[in-house]
């Protein structure tokens, strides 16, 4: 994988930025105006997780033309896997001081741990599950969907149905994942107390690193011949078939990889925000994440990262500055961007052609719609 300038630029921003924040938080004395309070570290870490999700979405939407409205599902699943580990880590420090059962299980009167919670007391196992569970789900789902050539809006709708179904499922208390309240009140990860500043900063730095690695991985994929085929599929799927390629298998690979990246993002998200619950599956979340990508600029991985950062920064600021009307601002932003910046913010500065894929694919859908009107 050659380190071209795009990588250097993005990496130096992500890693450098994170390092600077961390230093300004830990090294500079709090009295100095340059000191960065922990609050900022915490939200920075949160944004980096969102950036990972955005990156994952851009990989499938920007380069394979799959508009997913359910990616938050993988994000949340990864989060739940991590949450389960953190719950077990609490051990006997819960309010009921039950050594094995998490509080919420004691709370709904369960007497012993359900089988699917076994092993989550080990970090490595949890880590494996973070990738295996969403990965498998994505693979199975994708295998069915792509093989039967579900595409365009249909695919978008069923991804939405997928995350919606998962949300309802996780709301059920009988599922053994804490129902509506989800999991919270975590104590520590790998022995580091979560509420200690150094841990928060550490997690933020880890997230930045993971984001950078995922970015490199994504770049490597799209710059390989595999990536060229992917773009070909996006631009003219039938043509690739007549060239002897099987688009479904290409989509399946990138889809699964993307799901796993998103899941890792979710796993890092949970210890930093301190809660995971079913509302993370809400279809709205997935759509919002897609919008981050659109705002930043689709089909340029760094655009996704930028978009996630800026939109969430705006959200944090607006929900405090104009709590009564912030939805106007954020909603307006989405409209303006799609209307006037079809290629997102980065599009303003690049000389690149817009991804034709969207145009053609959509032209096709439109055509079929039009025909459908008969």
């Amino acid at each position: 994988m050659r380190l071209d300038r795009a990588n250097i630029a993005t990496l130096s921003c992500v890693l450098g930025g994170a390092a600077v924040l961390a230093a300004m938080n830990l090294l500079i004395p709090a009295v100095s105006p340059l000191h960065v309070p922990d609050f900022v570290i915490a939200i920075a870490g949160k944004y980096l997780c969102y950036a990972i999700l955005a990156l994952a979405i851009d990989l499938v939407w920007g380069y394979a033309g799959i508009l997913t409205l359910g990616h938050a599902a993988f994000f949340a699943l990864g989060g739940y896997a991590m949450g389960m580990y953190l719950m077990r880590e609490i051990g006997a420090r819960g309010v009921y001081a039950n050594p094995t059962l998490p509080d919420f299980m004691v709370f709904i009167g369960w007497t012993h741990l359900p089988w699917y919670w076994y092993g989550f007391s080990h970090f490595w196992f949890a880590l494996a599950m973070v990738m295996v569970v969403p990965g498998t789900l994505a693979f199975v789902f994708g295998w069915f969907a792509f093989r039967s050539r579900v595409s365009g809006v249909y695919l978008s709708i069923i991804t939405q149905a997928l995350t919606y179904a998962l949300m309802l499922a996780f709301f059920r208390n009988d599922m053994g994942f804490g129902g509506n309240n989800g999991m919270t009140d975590f104590k520590d990860v790998l022995g580091f107390p979560l509420n200690r500043e150094s841990t928060e900063t550490g997690l933020m730095l880890v997230t930045a690193t993971v984001l950078s690695l995922s970015f490199l991985l994504a770049r490597a994929m799209i710059h390989s011949r595999f990536g060229k085929v992917l773009i070909a599929v996006r631009d003219a799927e039938p043509r690739t078939r007549f060239l002897g390629y099987r688009p479904e298998s290409y989509k399946l690979v990138v889809w699964t990889v993307s799901a796993i990246i998103a899941a890792i993002g979710g796993a890092l998200y949970v210890p930093q925000v301190g809660i995971i619950n079913p509302s993370e599956f809400a279809p709205g979340n997935s759509i919002e994440a897609v919008i981050w990508v659109a705002v930043g600029g689709r089909g340029t991985l760094y655009g996704a990262i930028l978009g996630a950062m800026l939109v969430n920064l705006g959200k944090t600021w607006l929900t405090s500055a104009l709590p009564e009307i912030w939805l106007f601002a954020i909603g307006g932003l989405f409209i303006v961007v799609t209307l006037f910046l079809p290629r997102g913010i980065t599009g303003l500065f690049t000389t690149r052609q817009p991804p034709k894929g969207s145009k053609q694919a959509s032209a096709a859908t439109e055509a079929s719609m039009r025909e459908a009107a008969r």
């Binding site: 071209d4 300038r5 630029a9 993005t10 921003c13 992500v14 450098g16 930025g17 600077v20 924040l21 300004m24 709090a30 000191h35 309070p37 922990d38 609050f39 900022v40 915490a42 939200i43 949160k46 006997a92 819960g94 309010v95 009921y96 001081a97 039950n98 919420f104 004691v106 709370f107 709904i108 009167g109 709301f171 208390n173 129902g179 509506n180 309240n181 989800g182 919270t184 009140d185 500043e197 925000v273 301190g274 809660i275 619950n277 509302s279 340029t300 760094y302 990262i305 930028l306 950062m309 920064l313 600021w317 929900t319 709590p323 009564e324 912030w326 500065f349 690049t350 000389t351 690149r352």
Partner: protein, 452 residues
């Protein structure tokens, strides 16, 4: 391609660094002066001079806005009125309103911001259990003060939270007693939305009813999803369960949104209160404001307060609120009263402690009393819950409640239910020597949750 990529990237570099710089920038300007990170409990230390900041952490958008916006309004009114009286300790109060947008992680983020950035002296906020659970670690770590105004499932007792709403034994149990003794109900439907508050409440009630000698055959427990709107089948099920020849009642822990369709279905099926009374724990004036109440007349609700209670103090506050929002249609409900009491008790505590220092105020709160709007006194007990009267009201055509029964005295909250095996030995007491939120009286030791 590389040549042109070079251009992109130098520019993109600019963009990205800008983005992060912005992040850092906000960091700096919100940063203000923060004591060194080490002194954990000092982080949230609130300034001793200048205006006293009060955080208001209620969803102004999203699904919970329906219930939480009125609470924000009542807080703004209370603060405004307090300032008219010259503030607290001669310092004006300054509300800090944020919108956690019905998004639970955002609640935690906002709580962090209120405590560590705005340095508020106290936070009034949350409605759902999950939002409270989400901010709880933040308040405990940053040692803040949260006043939580909504009736809830109990099984919690944090040093940093003051629960001004009802614990199960201050709402559910008396309600069932009323149905049992006054109405002579023999058969019970426990209908709820599938989340923790109904689940726990129903478990407590089930245990209580069994203890009172009702067989499992006479208790039906049923759960529906959030925002459930198609009640046909469920209501039919209730109706046939109610046709077993014994007086049947529905104990409803159905969550806000799903109530309107539920009552509409009851009404249309002609299930009148005289046939199968429904007693609700989450339906107040606010919810009724959204329904055509004629079909509901006679159905019941159990609260610690009704807008209709006939006391001068209440009339005054309700009138003030309508004036403040200059909208005569606005109603006043139990959680709003809880905020009213909580706010006044907090004010008294601050004056008593003569400081806004969190530790001092937390200790000062205990034992402070303030008159309920429904008469009698609410006292902050060592378990951080209030003493409350319990009122049973019947829905009237005007969307108000008519108090038909009231506990003879005040009820002291039991955050840990004695009817659940896992918590029957637990009590909470934040006075020394115990200073423990979950103290096992049998084992004689404090489980987990004690003073930081």
């Amino acid at each position: 391609m590389s040549s042109e990529k070079l251009i992109i990237d130098r520019r993109t570099l600019g963009r990205l660094s800008m983005g992060l710089a912005a992040a850092a920038a906000t960091g700096i300007d919100v940063g203000a002066i923060v004591p060194p990170a080490k002194a954990a409990t000092a982080i949230a230390a609130t300034p001793e001079t200048g205006p006293i900041k009060v955080g208001i952490l209620h969803s102004l958008s999203g699904t919970m806005a329906i219930s939480e916006v009125p609470l924000k309004d009542v807080m703004l009114m209370l603060i405004a009125e307090q300032n008219k009286k010259g503030g607290v300790m001669g310092r004006p109060l300054e509300p800090v309103v944020v919108d956690p947008a019905s998004n639970w992680p955002l609640f935690a983020e906002k709580a962090k911001q209120l405590l560590s950035v705005d340095k508020v002296a106290a936070v009034f906020g949350c409605w759902t259990s999950v939002s409270r659970k989400s901010v709880l670690p933040v308040f405990e770590h940053l040692n803040g003060i949260l006043l939580y105004p909504v009736q809830y499932e109990g099984q919690e007792c944090s040093r940093n939270v003051f629960y001004t709403g009802a614990a199960p034994n201050q709402q559910a149990i008396p309600a069932v007693d009323y149905l049992m003794n006054q109405v002579g109900v023999k058969r019970w439907v426990l209908e709820g939305t599938d989340y923790v508050y109904p689940r726990t409440t129903n478990k407590i009630l089930e245990a209580y009813l069994k203890k009172k000698g009702f067989g499992s055959a006479d208790i039906m427990i049923n759960y529906t999803p959030f925002g459930y709107s198609d009640w046909q089948a469920e209501v039919a099920k209730i109706k046939s369960f109610g046709s077993a020849g014994k007086k049947t009642a529905v104990v409803s822990t159905i969550n806000g949104d799903a109530n309107v369709p539920f009552y509409k279905e009851l009404g249309n099926r002609g299930i009148k209160a005289t046939d199968i009374p429904v007693i609700a724990f989450s339906v107040g004036e606010q919810e009724l404001a959204g329904i055509d109440t004629k079909p509901l007349v006679g159905h019941l609700a159990a609260w610690n307060y009704f807008e209709s209670v006939d006391t001068p103090a209440n009339k005054e506050v309700v009138a003030a609120f309508k004036k403040f929002t200059n909208n005569d249609k606005r109603v006043f409900n139990d959680p709003m009263e809880a905020h009213y009491i909580g706010f006044n008790i907090w004010v008294k505590a601050v004056e008593k402690a003569a400081t806004t220092n969190h530790d001092a105020v937390i200790d000062a709160m205990i034992g402070v009393a303030h008159p309920n709007l429904s008469g009698d006194y609410a006292t902050m007990m060592p378990n951080h819950h209030l003493t409350k009267p319990v009122l049973i009201g019947e829905v009237q055509e005007n969307g108000q409640f008519n108090t038909v029964w009231q506990t003879p005295g005040l009820v002291v909250a039991q955050p840990w239910s004695p009817y659940l095996p896992e918590s029957k030995n637990l009590i909470g007491d934040w006075l020394p020597p115990m200073s423990c939120g979950s103290y096992d009286v049998v084992a004689g030791k404090c489980l987990g949750n004690h003073k930081a």
